[in-house]
Amino acid sequence: MIDTIGIAVSNRELATGYRLLTLELPEDVEVRPGQFAMLKSHHSIEPLLRRALAVYRVHGPRRLSFLYQVLGRGTEALSRVEKGGQIEALLPLGNSWPIATQGSQHALVVAGGIGSASVLMLCEELKRARIETQVLFGAASARAATGCGLEDFRALSVPIALTTDDGSSGEHGFVTGPLERRLRDGHGRGATIYACGPWAMMRRVAELADEFEVQCLVSLEAPMGCGFGVCVGCVVAVKTDGPLQYGSFRRVCTDGSIFNADEIRWDVNAMGH
């Protein structure tokens, strides 16, 4: 983990409201798939807190890119950083996607919305490890799918099932639809599901994985104060016997962000309602 200031090599819009930020760092870092960074424009006084962004791609030991959706004040401020601008970065953070999970012969990667940012490197790694992979890619619309990096996934030449909420591209509906069909068709046998997306999507993925008894890993989101374990603000509830107790809460930033789906208490939404 280093705390450093990187230079924005580019920060371009992929589709309205979605951007790709490429950073050049002054030091080498080693980043594993699924890890993230805490980022903030160096000259932005407000908002105060850095934002967690998954490392989307590693271009070299000092060059990384991040894919993000411009939602609120933090990502707004990031979106205004021009080429050459300074960005504070704490990284790499969190655990990473385990590739060789027990007895797994193939992978089902479920990417919901900007959750795609966390799984592109996973797909690359699965490919390198020659693990058969299917990507289930859900987005709000054709535009959002572009913004969430669909072309980069296509470039990997893995099979992709695309869904959009508005039907403007691919299958009309949620990404959990094609997942459920595949599991019903027996595709879950020997598979590992890797999922990243909105809480409701991951909750449904976890239910399906449970129903069909498939291993399932999820990368979770929670509001983050620090990203390195000291504020204890970013917790999720994990299953423990009885009521909430010591040990019921795990930090997304350092105990995760990747968890086994069956550990998580999905009724306690880490992001609120």
Partner: protein, 311 residues
């Protein structure tokens, strides 16, 4: 302990008999158990830090969401999730003893007895410089009252804690009161060796789409630069009311911020929320305090304590 560090002698301060290499400390709840920062900063350069609030038994904390950012600050309702005083002594202290920095154990309980029990457990630990009684956490009201908002309850607890403690006792004040100086006087009379202030200010944020509070606990504690003017004012008021040393806390994010507190009457300061968004902030503040002393020809930063001009 020889660490090869050249501390700027102008920055050394003494609080309740404890010598700090410099007045810059990490604030409780924002500095973990200290060790989390070892990868990012040189702990040997740090004046000291206060641990996350330690209770006699480990606490689970509140359900998420626990934090929400606001303009110039954040609200938190962590609910004092912590490993417990015993685990701190056994698991963390041995590793902390490798560093030349002052460790302040921040102590929390739901009742006087809880506090005393935690202090007794910590008394067994080696390498703790002082205790800081957190009587002002707004996020764990049991029975509806915060001890730190009542002069009588706070004084009674301070007296009992002082008796139980083998170490200097710092009491951390709540800002959610009409007259902070009055409470300060009561605590000093009850035996507090030092007062630290401020803890967070109770606040609330509402999600207007769901119409629910953004924190699962409902209300939370406001921290960060937004509260600094309130904190500086309270330090100023308390400095004129009591004679024990003060530790200033609240929204510090630069050496100038720290100096505002020192000039208003604090002997040392704690940096809280800024550690989250700028994990090396303590080191930069130490360096900038040295530069200030140099630029202003100041031999000892302690000479600035309470040096505010004109009333």
């Amino acid at each position: 302990m020889s660490t090869g560090i050249n501390h700027d002698p102008r920055l050394a301060v003494e609080v309740a008999g404890i010598r700090f290499n410099n007045p810059v400390l990490g604030a409780s709840g924002t500095f973990g158990y200290g060790l989390e920062f070892a990868e990012l900063i040189d702990l040997n350069r740090l004046g000291g830090f206060a641990t996350k609030g330690l209770s006699a038994r480990p606490l689970p904390g509140n359900a998420p969401p626990r934090i929400v950012e606001t303009h110039g600050g954040m609200l938190n309702a962590i609910g004092l999730q912590n490993i417990g005083a015993r685990a701190f002594v056994e698991e963390k202290l041995p590793r902390l003893r490798q560093y030349d920095t002052r460790v302040i154990a921040n102590v929390f309980g739901y009742s006087d007895e809880d506090y005393i029990e935690a202090i007794r457990m910590l008394n067994d630990g080696e390498g703790i410089s002082a205790y800081e009684l957190n009587i002002s956490c707004p996020n764990v009201k049991e029975g509806g009252i915060v001890i730190g908002n009542s002069p009588a309850a706070a004084a009674r607890l301070t007296e009992r804690a002082k008796l139980a403690s083998i170490r200097p006792l710092i009491v951390k004040l709540s800002p959610n009161v009409t007259d902070v100086a009055q409470i300060a006087r009561a605590l000093v009379e009850a035996g507090a060796d030092c007062l630290s202030l401020i803890n967070t200010i109770v606040g609330m944020s509402v999600d207007v789409n769901t119409r629910r509070p953004r924190l699962s606990y409902g209300t939370g504690g406001l921290s960060g630069p937004a509260i600094r003017p309130v904190a500086v004012r309270m330090v100023y008021e308390v400095a004129r009311a009591v004679k024990v040393p003060l530790i200033g806390i609240g929204g510090i994010a630069s050496a100038d911020d720290a100096l505002e507190f020192i000039i208003a009457g604090a002997t040392a300061v704690q940096i809280g929320t800024a550690n989250y968004y700028d994990p090396k902030i303590t080191m930069r503040v130490i360096d900038a305090l040295s530069a200030y002393c140099k630029a202003h020809g100041i031999d000892a930063i302690s000479s600035l304590v309470g040096s505010i001009v004109g009333e």
